[in-house]
Amino acid sequence: MSGADPDDPWSLLRSARAGQRLELKDDRGRTWTGTLVPRPDSADDGVVQLKLDSGYNVGVRVSPGSQLRFLPPESERTPTAPQGRARTAGGNGPWVSLLTTGGTIASRVDYETGGVRPVQDEGEILDFYPELQAEGPVRIVPVFDRLSEDIAPDDWVTLAARIVAEFTDGAQGVVVAHGTDTLAFTSAALSFLLQDLPGPVVLVGAQRSPDRPSSDGPSNLAAGVRVARSPLVGEVLVVMHAGLSDGRFAIHRGTRVRKMHSSRRDAFESRNGPPIGYVDADGVHWDREVRPAASGPPRLDGPIDRAGGLLYSFPGLPPESAEAFAKDLRGLVLAGTGLGHVSSVHLDWIRRAVAAGKVVAMTTQCLEGNVDPFVYATGRELQRAGVVYLGDLLPEVAYAKLLWALGHASDPRAVEALLLSDVAGEFEWRHRSGGDS
């Protein structure tokens, strides 16, 4: 607190740390007693936030006439330091590795300031989720610390390498805790990057933050760990709530899943077909054929080339903007309308791009159903222009696959051949329906 001018409330406040108890007499003579709280996104508007003894936070306007006095901390309310012990917990035997990628996997309330603090220390995470170790040990492996929207294609490779290392080290299965926004991009990329998996790789997330008692994160995580202990399964999966209720979780193939709602717990859905299984109180149930675990060592099937893009088509999209977007790319996935169309005004630049050796691939904004170039004239012209039609691949999955394919081949025809081949169960060949009732 040295250097603060005792008569200038703002100078004093700047010298104070969150958690400081203080007494603030405002310019109307009202004295507020409480604990200084960090104010999220604080604007420079002359307001400080205090946690009152009642537990409520209030904002108090500080003016030049305000009087400020620091108070000693309340002795019985000394902060409790987290007792983190990095470890593998849960006994001996085959373990599941839990890879954390950032975001908040668990939170605790800081009772000094009333703020919420993320739990990132490995030991603390295990303390927080004792149920994860119910069926065997769990090893916590922090990989990086990024919000989901900040996870970039290079991170996919880092993550894949770490997963290979965990299996090589002897892990029975791997769980990746991941933010939900881009979780399906990562699950698709890992599906292409990881080959000959000796066990399951399960991505899980939370649609409700762990700072609330109702978070879906803990139960998704527990279900994910159960799936990761499944022997004989060797593919990349996503495990999230199957519905609104806690207690039933869907197992999605990493290349068939999409976040279909901005906030619901059951936002993740398999498109063009049902999930491949479920987890409930009775255990893990597989409804569809799964890729069997490989007996040999796992393989990181890199690299990727980031020179690919994904463009959502819309009425009025200027062809010159689209061409400019594709300029520095080696390949482009179009999310077209309906059966896979863009306006015929784009035909010219597409022909030029293909002639220049770029790969242009088509998916549908409808998300459900195949693209098909043969039904309408525009489709036929696009195909003649060199656009490759990718069946029922989801646009995001096609993008991840494109980066992977570009990393594996330099010749555009070879890239196209990779795009059209079945690498990780990403195509759904039969589309079925149960009828209207």
Partner: protein, 622 residues
């Protein structure tokens, strides 16, 4: 004794954090089930109330109604705080001369009993330092908060609690007084005044359950007890007075225990299943405990202090039994009530030996099919018995219909509050407050003065009208030309007394219908005395007023019919009329009224009868 009140009034502004209506409904569209975990379990400082609730590990089922959306389901982030509800809270702050905060921070208050899908209730402090003047006394208003109501519990069975989401998110304005209330009657008066004040904003929801009181009571030397969720204002005085009585008994017990040097140090839970294996009736019998153990705990120095003292119904034994119930047991047996319940003197002697209990010691017995639960119950009993030596532990208690209260959970602390980061802080500007100040509703005292002056009605009656929140309806009907006395009686007496099923709300009849009713009565379609009957028919679902009059059996008796009836009665009693003159009025009036009660006005009947008697006497004898 010192008591403070927290009055919670629901607002009819639509929900606080979404765009659903603030209506309750019986339409259930589906359901889902969740579990809650204390997300913020800082091991060493976990809030007592939170850990207590979470330890129960229940499954919660939620019924979706047409008055709920994804926000109530905790499937969508909250929408911005409802500005109309905020204006009501700020208006009340101004009416109560309180100081609005400079910036509102919405908080999450952890509540893991399942009544909030998120596991917390959103609440915000809006104003502090208000004052309420009533009956010549000043009560401080410690705080005015805006919070969301919880889901309503529909049923509870087999470890699953079912809530309906319609009530979740309805705005509650919470007005808390300082601890300056000294009697139960005063508590009721303050609660009524605050309720009327909220209704004066014209944005309060109406009906049973829309206003709830928490009563904080501390007897002298006692700790703070929060009686949570009193719905009937008239019961407040009883709850307060009985709570004071309870605390007095428990404080007396504490004095006695300390005098005896009572302590639970070194006592431990003892398995008495073999000792009491021959008990074959009552709660300890094998079938009743489903084969589970019988456990005992010695309470050294407690002998004779578990039962109620002479002249009181309060006893420590019940407090201990409430602890056993709080973990799911049906109750417990204590030595002050034994021998009984299938336990005889022989059993008691064996129990005393097994527990090492001397003549000054008491003991409690529990039995349950679940051994873990039975142990947990006795641990709670041990904690509660230890607290009994100190005095009255602070706790939250539920009001019971008979005026008693029962332990529900430990008092929550400030530890369970943290910021709701999904809602940005809301600055309160001087311009906003000035706008609200320019259109404040009339203060209640000004309203009472004006109505008394304008109508000449008794102040007591005016006070009842205002307290019922019906001054608007009253003024509207008077403006439409009805006599103030008749309108007042209609509102404060006839409407609340309309027969209805137990617990149902008084009928909410539109002002237009009440107007028609009074008009029909004034123009002689039926008598004043018939008003309750017509109201009852309207409440029972009569499609319109004439149907209600018809169903009440009051239609079709005209002034001419009355004349003819009186003529007939007078003629039939000619001898009495001639012999006794005016003294014949009373018996004849009785005869006529038996026929016309409710159909013609009593005064009209009396006047017509007097006229007929006079005429008859003036007539020469035949």
């Amino acid at each position: 004794m010192k008591a403070g009140l927290e009055v919670h009034q629901q607002l009819a502004t639509g929900k606080l954090f979404c765009d659903c209506p603030s209506d309750l409904t019986e339409v259930v569209e589906g359901s889902f089930a969740r579990r809650l975990r204390p997300a913020s379990g800082e091991n060493r400082a976990v809030d007592a109330a939170t850990s207590f609730q979470a330890a129960r590990g229940l499954l919660y089922r939620y019924e979706i109604s047409n008055a709920s959306c994804l926000v109530e389901m905790d499937e969508e982030p909250p929408h911005p705080l409802n500005p109309a509800a905020l204006d009501v809270a700020l208006t009340l702050a101004l009416l109560l001369h309180a100081r609005p905060v400079d910036e509102i921070e919405v908080m999450r208050k952890i509540v893991v009993d399942g009544s909030n899908t998120a596991g917390f209730q959103r609440t915000a402090l809006v104003a502090v330092d208000g004052v309420l003047e009533l009956g010549g006394k000043r009560y401080s208003i410690a705080s005015i908060c805006l919070e969301e109501d919880a889901a309503r519990k529909v049923r509870e069975a087999d470890g699953e609690v079912t809530y309906r989401l319609d009530r979740l998110g309805i705005p509650l304005v919470e007005i808390a007084t300082g601890p300056e209330i000294e009697t139960g009657a005063e508590a009721r008066a303050v609660a009524e005044e605050i309720g009327a004040l909220v209704r004066a904003t014209r944005r309060a929801r109406r009906g049973i359950g829309t206003i709830r009181e928490d009563v904080n009571v501390s007897a002298e030397r006692g700790r703070r007890i929060e009686i949570k969720g009193v719905q009937e204002l008239r019961k407040i005085a009883e709850y307060v007075d009985r709570e004071v009585g309870r605390q007095e008994v428990l404080l007396h017990v504490a004095d006695e225990l300390r005098g005896r040097g009572a302590s639970l140090d070194g006592t431990r839970v003892t398995d008495l299943t073999t000792v009491l294996g021959s008990v074959d009736t009552g709660p300890l019998a094998r079938p009743a405990r489903k084969g589970g153990p019988i456990l005992g705990l010695r309470l050294p120095g407690f002998a004779g202090l578990l039962r109620a003292p002479p002249g009181s119904d309060e006893r420590l034994g019940r407090e201990l039994a409430d602890q056993a119930r709080s973990v799911g047991l049906r109750g417990l047996l204590h030595s002050d009530e034994l021998p009984a319940y299938g336990v005889d003197a022989g059993h008691l002697e064996k129990v005393r030996v097994a527990l090492g209990a001397g003549p000054n010691d008491a003991f409690v017995l529990v039995a349950d099919g679940d051994s873990v639960r039975a142990h947990a119950a006795l641990e709670r009993v041990r904690v509660r018995a230890t607290a009994a030596i100190e005095g009255v532990p602070g706790e939250t208690r539920d009001p019971l219909p008979d005026g008693r209260t029962r332990f529900s959970r430990p008092l929550p602390g400030r530890e369970r509050m943290y910021p709701e980061t999904d809602i940005a802080p809301i600055p309160i500007t001087p311009e906003h407050l000035a706008r609200l100040a320019s259109r404040l509703p009339e203060s209640l005292s000004a309203l009472r003065d004006r109505l008394a002056r304008e109508t000449g009605l008794a102040r007591e009656l005016i006070a009842q009208l205002v307290a019922a929140g019906e001054s608007d309806t009253f003024e509207e009907l008077v403006r439409r030309g009805h006599a103030p006395a008749i309108v007042a009686r209609l509102i404060v007496q006839d409407l609340p007394n309309v027969p209805r099923p137990e617990g149902a709300e008084p009928p909410a009849l539109p002002t237009r219908v009440l107007d028609e009713l009074l008009r029909a009565q004034a123009s002689g379609h039926f008598a004043k005395e018939g008003i309750p009957n017509v109201l009852a028919e309207l409440a029972r679902g009569a499609p319109d007023l004439s149907a209600a009059i018809e169903r009440a059996g009051l239609s079709g008796f005209s002034a001419e019919d009355l004349e003819r009836l009186i003529e007939r009665v007078v003629a039939a009693n000619e001898a009495i009329v001639r012999d006794r003159g005016d003294a014949a009025f009373s018996p004849l009036m009785g005869d006529v009224m038996r026929e016309v009660r409710g159909r013609r006005d009593g005064q009209e009947v009396a006047a017509a009868l007097r006229r007929a008697i006079a005429l008859r006497r003036a007539d020469p004898a035949p």
